[in-house]
Symmetry: C2
Subunit: 372 residues, 2 copies
Amino acid sequence: MLRIMRTLLALWVAMVLSLGTAHAADGPRKVIIDDEGFQLMHLMLLESSEVEVVGITTVSGNTWANRATAMVLRGLEIAGRPDVPVAQGATYPLLNSEALTKRWEAIYGKLTWKGAWMKQWVEPTAQTTPAYYGPDDPVNLPGGNPTLKPSPEIAANFLIRMVRQYPGEITIVACGPLTNLALAQRLDPQFASLVGELVYMGGSLNPHQVLDDQQAQEFAREFANSPRREFNARFDPESASIVSRSPWRKLTIIPVDPSTATQRTRTLLERVAKAAKPDVAAFVSDLEPGFPLWDEIAAGYVLDPAMVTNAEDLYVDYNTQFGANYGDMLSWREHYQPDLGEQKAYVVRAIDPVRLEAVMVEAMQQGAQSDE
Amino acid sequence: MLRIMRTLLALWVAMVLSLGTAHAADGPRKVIIDDEGFQLMHLMLLESSEVEVVGITTVSGNTWANRATAMVLRGLEIAGRPDVPVAQGATYPLLNSEALTKRWEAIYGKLTWKGAWMKQWVEPTAQTTPAYYGPDDPVNLPGGNPTLKPSPEIAANFLIRMVRQYPGEITIVACGPLTNLALAQRLDPQFASLVGELVYMGGSLNPHQVLDDQQAQEFAREFANSPRREFNARFDPESASIVSRSPWRKLTIIPVDPSTATQRTRTLLERVAKAAKPDVAAFVSDLEPGFPLWDEIAAGYVLDPAMVTNAEDLYVDYNTQFGANYGDMLSWREHYQPDLGEQKAYVVRAIDPVRLEAVMVEAMQQGAQSDE
């Protein structure tokens, strides 16, 4: 009798879970973007008719959170999407800081890219050096400031509220340091288990240079000598580790590796702009070319997971010791992991760049059509 | 006047230095092998007529130092070279230990290969598991024990005495943990500057699997998830760091990277055996096939440096923090290094495997001819 009741209970649980999945499949997939700034990745997800962006959160990384928030609000004005709520996130990483980074470099060598803390390149480079600001400096965007205002909620609280409102339905696409997600998980231990899927761009396995031009060579400078270091994780290693040890339903990681076969060329930007509606087209045409596609792969994976040509299930964590490998990605195949809470992740090693570019164009076309 | 005297002094110094080089070029190049065991690498250097092996030192690593010493003495008997002095080296790494390694694995995950501390593979593997011994267990070699005896000197003292006897003339080929060299450098701060060239096999940049067979796949298990970890450095990270920061005249590093294009196949062993004199041939035929060529690349580089097809000048050190990346190789291109004594090294990224195999055969032929 007890056995029958257990079986019935198991069936009921299975039914509820499958209903949950079926419900989630109704209508476009709900997405929250967590990132610093406003880029092609945001536009791909906003313009696509296959997903519904239900919120954007910001964080410090390549730029400070207040600046990132202004960029997102201005971007939403350009995209004609004032309905999307924006919640500003963490200004500072959990432990890391600009002062610590200076001391670190004195002992362990120069970092190639330091994001908001970057004052100059170590070597001459084709990429422009962004202007340097303090965390509370007033924001005046070159293209004009937004009139839209952010949500009064801080990002972590917004994220918790949304995943509780739509349990198991939301895909978070995180393309900056993982500070907001780590805070959300420590504020609410159920947070990760309420997220449908976390797709994050961060970490690095062992990338090799694929393209053979000046830009590709310059971006290879970092991973050639520190194959496990990537900026998002290195900016806030403790948050990356918390996220790695949180109980996600599904965890997908886009490390640097698949990006080495891609490039945001002038030709690609023009092709994407041509497919987009006028205001978006103007924005895309103004983007600086030469970068590998990083965040765009994360957005592309959400829109078309079949673009992945090589992936592996790995247990992942990040080195949180303040030393030479601070922030480095750690990975283990099954049987080798220490079992301290690190999650099995679907780690993308390679994608089809032609298919990714097609997805970018298609998303812009969908946005242009829905606008007609 | 002062300027003229300075110029004369500079000329005199230059002349003395060039005389030193000219003297070193007379006769075959003097080599000391520092390693754990007796392998193809030893035979390549012993049989070649282009170098003169003036001593062999042993160290713990893949096996304990006492066992390595017996293997070398037995090897010299087989090669008919009882004249080569053998000095036993360090039994223990500077800080690392078997007990620490167990604790490390509990926090940071399982190591693939642990050398003398290995009891079993984590996963099934084609390679045999060597028998497990304690550091002072009596040695009984399967092929019979040697009658030759080692030098009464400990390896570090032997190394110091030899480089003082032949300043700037000796090439050290080190293919195990670097404990002996670190001890020699701390015993005698001029040690490194008296060595002609240090060629060591150790460290790992970011190797990729090149060959596509079961053995290559199994050896890729380690570097796929820890591209900067290599056994020799991981067994004694502190010694590897001391060596990295010592003032060598010339420092050449063979990391794991060039080995992924090579394999000690049954065919290769038979080809090498066929070229060798009878006793050596029998020894070579009995070697276990399937391993990448590691130490053989170091010996091959000494005999024919032109086999290198890709190399880079890098500053190198090793992570000595007891953490997830303990023993990992650190490397910096010019301008990025911290300048804490780490040396610019010639780091070999790729070699021509066909040329290496030819060098192996040629060395055996030279040994067979000199025996006639």
